[in-house]
Symmetry: C2
Subunit: 336 residues, 2 copies
């Protein structure tokens, strides 16, 4: 079985975005605010949105199941307030739940959290619990920068976040560290803000004792870990200069990287530098890069091909990357 | 000849930092402000600060000359106002000039710019001209985020920066894009802020037509280009999805990467993915990582070893990386 641990519902029916636009309009003029009941999306619309996209690509590429969450750039935690994020997260998560009910063989849910800048993370606990206990979701996406590119929240290692971590540990669910759309013009959402978010989170973990406080807390750093594997020597060296333990001991029982790296040399580096036990297969399709690489004739984000073509790892390690590690990290994932 | 294009005076005599601390104290109480004449550093102190550090390492590692600038994390553009940055930049650049006069075979100067958040970049022109024309400096370090981690300035591709670029083109000097210390607790200065700055700048360039407006403007993106080479497929794909020209055509006449990547797999990826014409040798010693890698028994930042050990590039390409490209990009560098 091949588990893609990183997919977002980027192809959701247009009604979802219309609903969001009404919600945003309602921030200025409450009369324009959409009632919750007014998000009408039929099962057929959901099927249509997936059959020609994620499901088609699963079949073509030979992957089996996608750990699926709302569109990351669409989380937009910087918009409105805590209630705005609550309503929007509920709507998005409910839609993911419907996807997972329609295609239980193909999708398993991960939730968006109703974060909002300056609002305490424990505010996210009810939605996390609802999604895990009622919907059977197996993880959450945690945004280290709900401001959308101003980085106004405390680091992920600050006690500010601890109540949420306590709940994650209790529920035994991991978080993928994933920023959302950048509203700071310095950053391109998928080109720099995403990658910077990954690198930033890793470095926060490196300089803290978070995992002494939470030995079973688990994070996936997506997009191949941002810049981290490429600069693995730098990070080993910085940790050493700071008299921190070796990275393996310091982090690698708790931090995992996905394989959303869209060319062969990048995947080869990732598989060479990071222990196979810490890598989870992912493609983020349909996501940040949708085209076909003229150098290969295949989709940039068809990351399974790169892993298949990698010659340094054996079949056992690749099996961990494709399935075993996902089952370990997402311990609520019971397979299908 | 081996040219290291990225060295900072991280080992400057303690008096420099004392001077800075007085300057900062003077922001609150002008009585504490140091007179310019009160920065007393002798030639012997300068010699001592280099002989056992950069010069020793040059000899040991077999590199010849370092393109040398003030300590990047020390620029601290977020502190004080434009005048604060002016006085501080002048002091730092003068010290670099003295280094280059004492050791003309070993160092050639690049200047710090007196940037300040919200202050127009043309404000930096007098100091840039002074350093180039009076001191014979051959480039500058340009901070894309003088706020120190709040990213409050317009992107590097905004017309806001154009007057400075006009002067750079007129003087025929490149800029290394280099942030300074992070004052935002989300970021670790050398671990995430530096790397994010590199990735951010590259993506700004990718989405703009800056190099149509300035066909001869040249930037070096340090630290191996941040996350960029590792995610080269992602960047090729994003450019393609945006209907931008191929990266080679769009950027690679103007954008260069240094080799400050502190392990063999990272250097191997850089040399495989980025054309040899766009890579400049650098180590950033004495810099972000000062220890010895227990896996190799050598300094992490002894990047010459990784390039020497790389088997994919031939001698001609390595010669470009070690010397030829530096002469091309730093066209005022006349060798020794």
């Amino acid at each position: 079985m091949i588990v893609d641990c990183h997919g977002h519902y980027t192809t959701a029916p247009r009604e979802l975005e219309d609903h969001r636009q009404k919600q945003i309009a309602g921030l200025k003029d409450p009369k324009l605010s959409p009632g919750k009941a007014n998000l009408n999306i039929s099962d057929d619309q959901i099927r249509d949105s997936l059959e020609s996209a994620q499901l088609k690509l699963q079949r073509e590429r030979g992957t089996d199941i996608t750990i699926f969450s709302p569109r990351a750039s669409g989380m937009g935690h910087h918009i409105g307030d805590a209630q705005t994020s609550e309503h929007w997260s509920e709507a998005c998560n409910e839609l993911i739940h419907r996807v997972c009910m329609l295609y239980p063989q193909n999708f398993v849910g991960v939730c968006q959290l109703p974060q909002s800048p300056g609002v305490r993370p424990q505010n996210c606990i009810p939605e996390l619990e609802r999604c895990v206990k009622e919907y059977g979701f197996i993880g959450c996406n945690l945004n280290p920068d709900p401001s959308g590119g101003h980085w106004s929240e405390p680091p992920l290692t600050d006690r500010w976040w601890y109540p949420l971590y306590e709940k994650m540990v209790e529920l035994d669910v991991p978080a993928m560290v994933h920023v959302s759309m950048a509203c700071n013009p310095c950053f391109h959402t998928t080109g720099s803000h995403y990658i910077n978010g990954d690198t930033t989170a890793f470095m926060q973990f490196l300089t803290s004792d978070l995992f002494k406080d939470f030995p079973t807390l688990k994070f996936i750093i997506p997009h191949g870990g941002g810049a981290v594997p490429y600069h693995w020597g730098r990070y080993r060296g910085i940790a050493q200069d700071m008299k921190r333990p070796p990275l393996k001991e310091l982090l690698l029982n708790n931090v995992y990287f996905d394989t959303c790296v869209y060319h062969q040399p990048g995947i080869d580096l990732l598989l060479k530098v990071i222990p196979a036990d810490n890598i989870l297969f992912a493609s983020e399709m349909v996501g940040a890069v949708r085209g076909i690489d003229p150098q290969t004739g295949h989709y940039y984000d068809d990351t399974k091909r790169y892993i298949d073509a990698n010659t340094s790892l054996g079949a056992g390690d690749k099996q961990k990357i494709f399935e075993g590690n996902a089952r370990k990290v997402f311990s609520r994932f019971k397979g299908r």
